[in-house]
Symmetry: C2
Subunit: 213 residues, 2 copies
């Protein structure tokens, strides 16, 4: 059975996966790039940005798992574009003509449109509840795993319904004060998930939440 | 110059230093003892509970710093007793006749009363802002350090005013969902504090926030 995984979901000490406001020029709000500096500093992140080099320690070990064995990503509307992108028929996502996914992506939105075919990644738009979206994703994944790509709302919904098998969350030592909270509505998560933590010399903490059998 | 320190302040993944409701029978609310199990499992915690044994690794290394070089503790009214203790002239704190402080304690309350002298610990009651309370505490500390004992509200206030030199926060891998938040109002704390993190085999993460010179 293919697994449902989350990777590299970065949050602040106070649990925000993005700042605010999230807009065209500030997709992560006032958080800027601070939640993801740890990732850009890895070899994985460097390659994503078209640079050479990058760290090759524990941050890299976690970061590089992003694509391994993944057949489909599910993302929320808020990850695909700034608020209101559904009104712009020409919006093609944040990532240019070669998105970093390399698999089909299911975008959850109440206003679906025709699939968008880009280089290596096709975006499919779906108005569906998490369990329905997951069923669709599994059909498309061809036996590979499904990645829940975020943002925070989608991550929370899938975790709340215990649909995620393994979630990698990265806690960054900053306090954002406002934004999109990951943990809201997830009280008691530890009853269903084992939580492993390891700190990195970079200053982040990697949390691995693994659903109990 | 004596320093202002916090030790063993335990929070959940979602940043709550206590659950709710906090009442006579449930001082930590629905969190119960779960935020402090890591500490009770150390040699320091065992001794506090009158037991032998206890772990002697990284959790102990942090826990035992609680009393070292401390001359006074400042605590909030909510740490001294359940809501409404000010109406009970016989309330003597949670800790029986031998509280685990061993120093004078300043209890911040809008309804001060006469000092309460117990075995090794005298409680003084003060209606004062954080900076005033700190000035008073330093006078009483005789050159030793001042510990901010919590709860979450008092910890937040002293951190917000940058009055704390070093804060040891312990993040426990549970999601409480509600209670007393530590991080609220502390956005940008990382601009004034260096944050070091280390994970423990027990599953907790020790954060050390040290104010920049």
């Amino acid at each position: 059975m293919s697994r449902v995984r989350m990777h590299n979901l970065s949050i602040s000490l106070d649990g925000f996966a993005a700042g605010e406001p999230q807009a065209l020029e500030t997709p992560m709000g006032h958080a800027g790039q601070r939640l993801h500096t740890w990732m850009f500093d890895t070899a994985f992140g460097a390659a994503m940005m078209g640079r050479a080099g990058g760290s090759d320690g524990v941050d890299q070990a976690f970061a590089q798992r992003f694509a391994d064995g993944i057949g489909v990503e599910i993302m929320g509307a808020g990850k695909f574009g700034p608020s209101g992108w559904q009104d712009d028929p020409d919006w093609r996502g944040w990532w240019g003509e070669t998105p970093p996914f390399g698999t089909p992506v299911l975008v959850l939105t109440h206003r679906p449109r025709e699939p968008l075919v880009l280089d290596g990644t096709t975006f499919h738009f779906l108005d569906a509840a998490p369990d329905e979206a997951l069923e669709k994703a599994r059909e498309m994944a061809g036996g590979l795993d499904v990645r829940i790509g975020g943002g925070a709302d989608v991550a929370r919904q899938f975790l709340a319904e215990r649909l995620v098998d393994v979630a990698h969350v990265v806690q960054v030592p900053i306090v954002l004060g406002r934004g999109a909270r990951l943990w809201d509505g997830l009280a008691g998560l530890e009853d269903d998930y084992d939580v492993e933590v390891v700190s990195s010399p970079s200053g982040v903490v990697h949390l691995t939440l693994q659903r109990r059998a």
